[in-house]
Symmetry: C2
Subunit: 354 residues, 2 copies
Amino acid sequence: MNVIRFQENPLITPQQVKPYHNDHEVIGVFNAGVAEYNGEVLLLLRVAERPLTTDKEVIKAPYIDLSSGTGKLQMAELDLKDPRYDFSDPRSITYAKSGRAAYLTSLSYIRIARSKDGRHFTIDDEPLIYPENEREVWGIEDPRVTQIDDTYYIQYSAVSPEGIGVGLISTKNFSSMKRHGLMLHPENKDVAIFPEKINGKYYCLHRPVPKGIGRPEIWIAESDNLLYWGNHQYLLGLSEDGWDNGRIGGGAVPIRTEKGWLEIYHAADKNNRYCLGAVLLDLQNPAQILAKTKEPILTPESDYETSGFFGNVVFTCGAVVEEQEITVYYGASDTSMAAATMNLEDIFSQLTYR
Amino acid sequence: MNVIRFQENPLITPQQVKPYHNDHEVIGVFNAGVAEYNGEVLLLLRVAERPLTTDKEVIKAPYIDLSSGTGKLQMAELDLKDPRYDFSDPRSITYAKSGRAAYLTSLSYIRIARSKDGRHFTIDDEPLIYPENEREVWGIEDPRVTQIDDTYYIQYSAVSPEGIGVGLISTKNFSSMKRHGLMLHPENKDVAIFPEKINGKYYCLHRPVPKGIGRPEIWIAESDNLLYWGNHQYLLGLSEDGWDNGRIGGGAVPIRTEKGWLEIYHAADKNNRYCLGAVLLDLQNPAQILAKTKEPILTPESDYETSGFFGNVVFTCGAVVEEQEITVYYGASDTSMAAATMNLEDIFSQLTYR
C-alpha cells in the first residue's frame, strides 16, 4: 500500500492557531471535516482550547453557560486535591465515586481553514460553529461535511453533560448556517452521511456506544430528510484480535466508485492505537459489505502521529478525490492536521472480498 | 394518592403459563404492552423462558440460531466453574475479563393474554412475536402498543450481542404482523409513541443508555413515518437523591388529557427499587414539561412487588383509560403481571407545576 504523506505535514498545528478565547491556549486543531467550495479546500477544524492557569494546584474546566440566554464561556475552578474528582484522564474530569464525567478539560468548536492548493491553509479568526444550546455546552467535535447538490450538511458531535449526540447543520456558503437539531441520540459519534440518495433514501454510517450490551461498532441508517433516521442496521464490527479490536467508527464521507461505496474508517485496538482502514459497500444497498482491507491503510508512524496530546492516533473526517487519487485529511495524535494521498487502485488491491 | 390494586393481583404468574419450548420453565411473565381490541383488553406479555437443567454444574444459555435461515432455539452449555465467565448476575452471563455480556440466562418473546373484563385473562399458547432476525437473537422484551387509527404499533426491545435497539412492528389484527426494522439504535429502551400526530409530527419518548457521558434518562424525538426519528431532545432527568436517582424511562403510552399529555413512567433508585411517577407534557409541544409528581404514584409494597426474580420492581408498559379512571398494568418483580386503578384527578393533585 503506497501512502504518500504530504511533505508539509503536519499541515496545521496548535502553535499556528490563535486562541479565540482570552487566557486560553489551543491544545488541538484536528479531526477536520473537509469540503470543496468555491475552488478552495475548506477544513472545518475542531479547535480545542484550554484555559491557562497560573495556579498549579487548580485546574480550570471550561463550559458554556446559557443562563443569561446567550452562551458565555465559563470556568469551573477545581482544586487538584479535591477528593470528589478524578483528574487522571487528560481529556475529562470525572466524579471519583461514580466515574461519571463532571467536566471536560477543554472546549472544542469549529473553525475554518482555507486553501487553494489543499496544502497551505489560512485559518479564520472567528469560529464557524460555536456551542449555542444545551446540547453543546461541553463543545462541538469531529465534524463531517457532506455535499448534496449545492448544500453542505455538517454532522458533528454535540457534547453536554447529558451525553454525546449528533448535531446537524446545513449551509450553502459557510457563512449562514442553519441548525436542524440532533439527528441521532446519545451515545453516538462518527457519523458520515452519503453524498446522494440511494434508491430514494439517504443513508449514513454511525457509531453508537452502548453501555450494557454491545460495543462501539459501525451501523447504517436511512432517512427521507437527513434529520430523522431509522431502519438502523449493524454494519461492521470489531475483530477479536488485531488493530481493530477496541473501537471502530466511520471516517471520511463515503466515496462513490465504480466498484462500490468506498469508506475510509478508523479503528483502534485495545491500546488506543488508531489506524485507518477501508471498506467497500454495495452501490445499490450500502448496508451490504462487499470487501474490506484486512490490514490498515494508514497507521501512526511519523512523529506527529505517534506523539501529542493523545498519541498514536490517525483519525479522518474527510477526503478529497481527484481522478484516481484520494487525499485523506486526518487528525494526528488529537493535536494537529495532516494529509496523505493514496491511489484508488492501490486501496482496491488491498481489499478482501467476502 | 389513592391507588387501588386489583384484588386478583397478581393477574398472571409464571405458574399459569405453559412454556412454549420443550424442557424450559417460564420464569417471568411481565412488562406487558396493553391494547384494546375487539372489545377485549390484550396484554402483550413478555414471557421469559429458561432452559431446565439437570446438571447443577452446568448452566444452559438460550439464543436463536439463524444459521439455517430460519430461527431455531439453541443452548450454550457452560460449566459454572469456567473461569472465563462471570455467573453472578441472574439475568446475564458476562465475560469475566472484559465484563462484556456473553449470554442471557433466559429468552424473552411476546405472547398475548386476552380478557373481556381486564381482570381475568386467557393466554395464547403460541407466541405473537418471536425472534426472527439478527437483532433479536437474544430476545424480544418490554413491548409498548400505540394505537393510531386502526393500526397498532408495537415498540419493543430487540436484544442481540450487538446491543439493545428498539424494533417496530405494526398490526391491524394481532395476527398478521409487519416488521419495520429498528426505529432507534442501541442502546435504547422504554420507547412510547404518542397516539396521535402533534402539529403534524409523530412523537415518542425514549431512553438512551450512553456509556461515556450521560445517564439513563428520558428523551423525546419526532418522526414523519414512525420508523425514522430525529430532532432528539432531552426531556426528563434523574434527581440527585431520592426514588429516581438511578435510572428513569418511559412507561405507558402517553394519555391525552385536557391538562396535557400524561405520562406514567418508571424510575429506579441506586438500589434498583423501581417505582412509577407521572409527568405532564404540553399538549402542543410535548418536549415541554408542565408538571411532575415529586413522589412516586406507585411503589413496590405487596409481596408480589417486593419479591420475585428481581424484587422491588413495579414497571408499566401500558394503561387503559375509562372516563376519569386509569388502569395501570404493570410488571411486578420481573416475574408477574399486576394492575391498579388510579383516578385522573388524584394524579393531577400530586403534580407540582414548574
